[in-house]
């Protein structure tokens, strides 16, 4: 029986191969060919003795070097489970890596024996590969989390993150979470699937007329809210927007302000308004201002990522705080009326430190000399003295750490610039000698650093500031904590072009001009107030605000409440600080320094409408309950509705038996349910719990439609092929076009065009993100906790944009069908302003990612220089050459280095001077250890070259005070220095190695199974195909789709 079976298969295989060569011209792939029965040496008599003499010593009962033991391997490669290991043995022996050089010296393996061994391995493996191919098929795949979410979204037309509550999916050895073998369905999954389906359909199917939205408008303007009702939210670190400066309107479903019909309704409206406040918690007071026209927001300054401040959001952020007056589900719109803003400070309001302070007054032999028009204020004449006493002519603080103050009245005849010089005693920096000047509500704090020479003097004069002072009487205060004390303060008018103030003037004008060239933008967020800040998430995209001051426009942001961290449902007990949803925005032209205002925005009004329905009933409802002539006949209509839904849900035609089963279920339910809609809902819930929906089903024994009855091996049905293709390139179900092609059995003949169409579709982003994320292990960069004190510029926005850089890079290569070698090195980089500024690249304006031409000298081209890789493979404090090296080996060279053996001796921190060693030096120490040397000699060079990129991927030339050394010697013996030479080496010597690694990873992703030795022939064929097409990105994708494994089996 078994024999018949196998001959039948062989027959089928031959038939199939013929078919393959004759009909599929553009098809890629070759199946492992069964070689003519070779002169295979006998294992027991010919092979075992060789292994015994040359291998078992290290890989046998006593030792298992590299965790490999050969004497227990099954030498029946076809039926045994060890073919993969034998495949490794073949590679090692063929490449002369084994036996190792040391053993070779002692007892060399004769060429004849090596040849015999290889012959045996080669022929056994070839036979095994043929057998393996039968087993080597895609295993039934459950939808993973993302696919489940995408599928439900497409099916129900609801943009909800359905799968977020599901447990995380396991990853295959190669790192992919769409592997059929690994994906399991636990009872917990099933519980969730049902609960999710119920809640999803509750949302999709609506009843009655369009619900009235919760719709409010908050209009800003200094003084506009006087006497009007509004809320105010205090608490820890509150930065409250004055209730006098905004007006809340409650709008009806047409967007008109609701007018209360009576006192009762008025009270209701007021009550809602009292639960709406405006706050800027987490915002620096100097970065926003309430003005007549609205609120001016400077560019947001990202906050430091340390709890609790890490929850404050960037500064400033303006938000509506709504307590228990918001809906909890549905789409919503936030509409912001805004324009460019203006600078709050001008040179007319100025108190600043002088950049190169040269006092205008000076002491000549202890006699003070000063310009003729200077005012001199002697300490002895000061008024309102706090915490100071006169010591001779000096006014000195009593309790030094406490605030001191002394006040003078200054009368200015003509407005202008003045320099302020202080006559004081010297004090060393240890005493933290400080000066605070206050004028017109402006404060200037400075710490004085005096030279050794100055410290020797009895008294000295220091220029402590410059100010623009309008004509009139002014109070000038001096003092502060750790005040140095003083004898007199000299105030001297200076010309506008005086060196002390001229740069300021110029700077201020230049700043305004500079800012005019920049474009502010807005990013919106929704979240929950927490005690120390907020838990928030952004929604929709960042939008540039190009409207000029005075010509405000409305910018609309759309989101879905369920996807955002809105407050948890409460128990009904009202607490002062719970149940607060925040809805806000910041100026997304992010800046790096608190001195940089960025291009300001003026916010005039914010509207919030939720739920927002463009049409009623929504698409989610009308796609299920579509218009039909049979709507009057419940029975017939139910059959239409259910049939249409399960066909879409199951992604293929449904046989009569199945439909009848669902209809019977409906009949049964209809008796109990009060409404037709509810009875249908139960049926649809059941459909969404069926394995027909939850698994990518590829039924057997369905004719492939290529003129063969029941071909063997069975051919993938056209519908299953459509599903494979769309989950490969969209990570979501097939659309109508694909479904129709499959139904007409025309898909297999149209794969080339369909691949192009799918890749050109917006949905291909899902493929790019999902594949890139898992292939390149971008999760590492997202998960690593970077030391914020060492890397203050690595903000959450840089972190986010680094991953975006890599996604956009891969997307750009696919969209433009560029060469895959761009992944190694490219003459462009995908950047937005934020990330460009982080990398120190100028001239990139705006938040969108675009290709920026980049000379090779900048060292930023290709994956190998991208932050997502470099920062993801650090330890949060320092670059990590081993992690980087292993990544390069795995992802670029397709070579999985062995795991470190157990009991690895740690780097010996007792070594004298260990603290000061660079990592490279530590590695050398590590490699001195004989048990580590072998593996590390193969790994380390691929990490050492990255040494001049620090933990966050920025280039540096020295570390720990010493120049960085990126020179190394590759395992092949080639000396190289730094990343440019590594890239050059890869592009010169490892083109096919890299292409192969890329093909293997994508093949794995496309089929949802890891590759094995039995796939080698097919991968080789795809590689040929790709090579012929000049290694273009799309040829890799097309090559995989056209391969037999994908297309047929």
């Amino acid at each position: 029986m078994g024999k018949t079976d196998s001959s039948c298969r062989t027959f089928g295989f031959v038939v199939y191969t013929l078919l393959f060569w004759t009909t599929a011209l553009s098809v890629v792939g070759a199946r492992p060919q069964q070689k003519a029965p070779a002169q295979r040496p006998d294992f027991e008599t010919e092979i075992k003795p060789i292994l015994d003499e040359f291998c078992y010593g290290c890989h046998g009962p006593r030792k298992q070097k590299g965790d490999i033991r050969l004497d227990t391997l099954d030498h029946d490669l076809v039926n045994g489970l060890d073919a993969e290991t034998w495949n490794l043995v073949e590679e090692m022996v063929e490449e002369l890596d084994m036996p190792p050089s040391k053993a070779e010296k002692r007892n060399p393996l004769p060429d004849a024996s090596r040849q015999k061994l290889l012959t045996w391995l080669d022929s056994s493996l070839a036979e095994a590969a043929v057998a393996q191919v039968e087993r080597n098929r895609t295993i039934l795949r459950r939808l993973n989390k993302q696919q489940y979410t995408n599928s439900l979204q497409e099916l129900l037309h609801l943009p909800i993150d359905f799968g977020n509550v599901l447990p995380d999916d396991g990853k295959s050895e190669m790192g992919f979470s769409n592997n059929g073998e690994v994906l399991e369905a636990s009872p917990l999954h099933l519980e969730y699937y049902q609960a999710i389906a119920r809640q999803a359909l509750d949302q999709a199917i609506v009843e009655g007329p369009k619900p009235a939205p919760f719709w409010i408008r908050v209009t800003f303007g200094k003084g506009s809210g006087k006497g009007k009702v509004a809320g105010s939210t205090g608490g820890y670190q509150a930065v409250q927007f004055p209730t006098d400066d905004f007006v809340i309107e409650i709008l009806d479903s047409k967007g008109q302000e609701k007018v209360a019909v009576d006192a009762v309704e008025q009270k209701q409206f007021d009550d809602i308004k009292r639960h709406i406040s405006v706050g800027l918690r987490g915002s620096s007071q100097s970065r926003w201002r309430s003005v007549e026209e609205g609120v001016v927001l400077y560019s947001a300054l990202p906050h430091k990522e340390v709890a609790p401040g890490s929850w404050q959001g960037p500064s400033p952020n303006l938000k509506l705080e709504m307590q228990r007056v918001f809906p909890e589900n549905g789409d919503f719109e936030m509409r912001v009326r805004a324009s460019r803003g203006f600078l709050l400070e001008s040179t007319e309001r100025l108190l600043i430190a002088i950049e190169d302070p040269v006092p205008l007054a000076y002491l000549d032999e202890q006699v003070m000399m000063m310009p003729r028009d200077a005012h001199v204020f002697a300490a002895a004449d000061a008024k309102n003295i706090q915490n100071m006493e006169l010591q001779g002519s000096m006014l000195m603080p009593v309790e030094v750490p406490e605030p001191s103050a002394a006040e003078f009245e200054l009368v200015v005849q003509q407005a202008g610039y003045f320099q302020l010089d202080l006559v004081h005693r010297p004090a060393s920096i240890d005493n933290m000698p400080s000066v605070r000047l206050s004028l017109q509500n402006l404060n200037l704090d400075q710490r004085l650093e005096l030279s050794e020479e100055q410290l020797q003097q009895e008294r000295l004069v220091t220029a402590v500031g410059a100010a623009y002072i309008p004509a009139g009487r002014h109070k000038l205060k001096i003092g502060g904590r750790f005040f140095i004390g003083f004898e007199s303060l000299v105030v001297t008018p200076v010309a506008e072009d005086h060196p002390a103030v001229a740069p300021l003037q110029a700077k201020s004008a230049a700043l305004a001009a500079e800012l005019a060239k920049k474009v502010p933008s807005m990013r919106a967020f929704v979240g929950t107030r927490t005690d120390d800040g907020m838990d928030y998430a952004n929604f929709d995209r960042s939008q540039e605000v190009k409207a000029e001051l005075g010509g405000a426009q409305v910018y609309t942001f759309r989101g879905r409440l369920e996807n955002l961290p809105i407050p948890e449902p409460e128990s009904g007990d009202t607490e002062i600080l719970s149940g607060f949803m925040v809805l806000g925005l910041w100026n997304d032209h992010l800046v790096k320094s608190s001195r940089d205002p960025g291009p300001p925005i003026l916010i005039e009004a914010i509207e919030f409408e939720a739920p927002f329905h463009e049409e009623w009933p929504p698409a989610s409802h009308s796609r299920i309950f579509f218009a039909s002539a049979n709507q009057g006949n419940e029975e017939v209509y139910a059959r239409e509705v259910i049939g249409s839904f399960i066909r879409r849900a199951f992604r293929r035609p449904v046989d009569g038996e199945t439909l009848e089963r669902y209809m019977a279920f409906w009949h049964n339910i209809r008796l109990a349910e009060t409404s037709f809609e509810d009875s249908i809902k139960e049926v649809l819930i059941a459909a969404l719990c069926s394995p027909n929906f939850l698994y990518l089903v590829e039924p057997e024994t369905i004719s492939g439609g290529e003129g063969l009855e029941d071909p063997w091996p069975p051919t993938l049905s056209e519908h299953a092929l459509a599903t494979r293709l769309s989950y490969f390139l969209w990570n979501s179900p097939p659309d109508e076009r694909l479904t129709r092609l499959a139904a007409d059995k025309k898909l297999r003949g149209d794969l080339g065009q369909q691949v192009t169409r799918l890749l050109d579709d917006e949905r291909s982003w899902r493929f790019v993100r999902s594949f890139t994320h898992e292939w390149l292990r971008l999760d590492r960069q997202q998960l690593i906790t970077m030391n914020v004190n060492s890397y203050p510029t690595y903000t959450r926005f840089v972190k986010r944009d680094m991953a975006e850089e890599t996604y956009h890079f891969v997307e750009h290569l696919i969209a433009n069908d560029m060469s895959i070698f761009n992944l190694i090195d490219s003459d462009f980089v995908m950047l937005n302003q934020n990330l460009a500024e982080f990398y120190g690249i100028e001239g990139v304006v705006g938040n969108h990612f675009r290709a920026v031409p980049m000379p090779a000298s900048e060292g930023r081209g290709g994956l190998l220089s991208q932050g997502a890789f470099l920062a993801g493979h650090s330890d949060g404090n320092e670059a990590h050459p081993i992690k980087r090296a292993v990544w390069v080996k795995q992802k670029i060279l397709g070579d999985d280095p062995p795991l470190p053996p157990p009991n690895v001796p740690p780097l010996d921190s007792e070594t004298p001077g260990f603290e000061n060693l660079t990592l490279k030096e530590k590695l050398v120490k590590h490699r001195d250890n004989p048990s580590c040397h072998d593996c590390h000699a193969d790994i380390d060079p691929f990490g050492v070259v990255f040494e001049n990129y620090n933990a966050v991927g920025l280039m540096e030339s020295e570390r720990k005070g010493r120049p960085i050394d990126t020179t190394t010697v590759l395992p092949s013996g080639t000396p190289i220095a730094g990343v440019p030479e590594l890239k050059a080496h890869l592009l010169d010597k490892e083109r096919d190695t890299f292409a192969r690694a890329l093909i293997e990873h994508m093949f794995t992703y496309a089929l949802g199974r890891d590759v094995s030795f039995a796939d080698e022939a097919e991968i080789d064929a795809i590689l040929d195909f790709v090579r012929e097409r000049e290694y273009s990105m799309r040829s890799v994708i097309l090559g995989i789709v056209q391969s037999e494994s994908f297309r047929i089996r």
């Binding site: 009872p187 519980e191 609960a195 990522e305 929850w311 909890e328 607490e575 069926s690 590829e698 906790t785």
Partner: protein, 445 residues
Amino acid sequence: MSRKSWNLDRRTFLRGLGVAAALPFLEGMSWAIPQGQGSAPKRLCYVYFPNGCSLPSLKDKDNAQWRWFPTAAGKDYKLTKVLKSLEPFRDRMSLLGGLSHPKSRELLGHLAGDTYLTAGDVRGDRYQNRISVDQVAAHQLKKHTRFPSLVLSVDGGVGYKSRVSTLSFSADGRPIPSEHRHRQIFERYFSTGGSQEERRNSLQQGKKIVDLVLEDSKNLKKQLSKYDQAKIDEYLESLNSVEEQVRRNEAWLDIPMKEFDASDVNFDADPRVDPKAYVRATFDLMALALQTDLTRVMTYMCGREDGMGFGDNFPNLALGIQKGHHTISHDTGAGHWPEWGRYDQWVAEQFTYFIDKLANTQDEFGPLLDSTLVLYGSACSTTHNARNYPTALLGGKALGAQHGSYKIYDHDTPFSNLFVSMLNAVDVKTESFADSTGPIPGLFA
């Protein structure tokens, strides 16, 4: 206004359609449970108090008696005035020092309350909490009882992120609303009337869906290759266990509650008037729930962090200290240690009431305390210091607990190690929980 949110509404979910199974599960379909069946139940209780504890220096002779922790380590430890009420239970109690959650050590102490039973990571830009240990246990132990767990607190609800009012978090790291109104708790969980019909209907619905899907799956299986059939078998197996659960849930509906006497529960205690009666009423209900084997997992958050909720005023109501609990915890003025210590002592006395009750209430297997592990503690030691959690573990003699000493662990020891040991003690076989590095040594035989 609709209170439904996408993130699954846990109440619907738990009580929902059978499959979700808040309801119970009967061993081997024998309806005789809970009486006289099998072996003794194994259960877990977690009791939390907020704002840390009084911890004057040992050298501070005047105040050393107000330290929460005892004065000497090992078997010969001496309880201070704070935990004096627990003295009779020395042989059934361990005091544990030095423990904390590594990811919460740098947090402001109040925020550490959010991670007390989860060991979640709320340091970064997003609130990444995770499932709490009681829910891990509940997920497995629910098959023995009517309800998976009771989640209780002084204030009810979830509070808000960073200042929660619940100790329990679901599998996706979301807070599970706690309950605090005694009468409602009693009616919801201890009475068999009320929403019976509603439950029965929803179970029926769930059963029908499972039946249909089962048929669908079997039909599909026929069309698949043998490799894929194995995969569908895995799905069918899970479906079977869901189906079994639905049937067990249904069966519970007809089983009468075990007899109990609730006559001494004060259902009307007002937290604004009589905190002692209020807290004790919760402990009474907890003891009743164990006695009737209603559930085997309970959490009780005995007050909110940071001056919130009813609990902040307890020192004033109970002891006449004219300060809130949170203020006391920050106070550095003269006499602040005795004030804090006295309040800690008061809280401990209420807790002792619970322990005493468990020790003196029997089910058919013996005193409840012997089959229950009770964890008592807080997520700060002194003011805002989220290390060296004050921790007492009581009961569980029948579960192999080795009591009688004050153990001081290395300050790097993850608090989760204790969770791992406790889970294993109640047969929830677990190698690790969150960032644990192994079981805690020396507590269990």
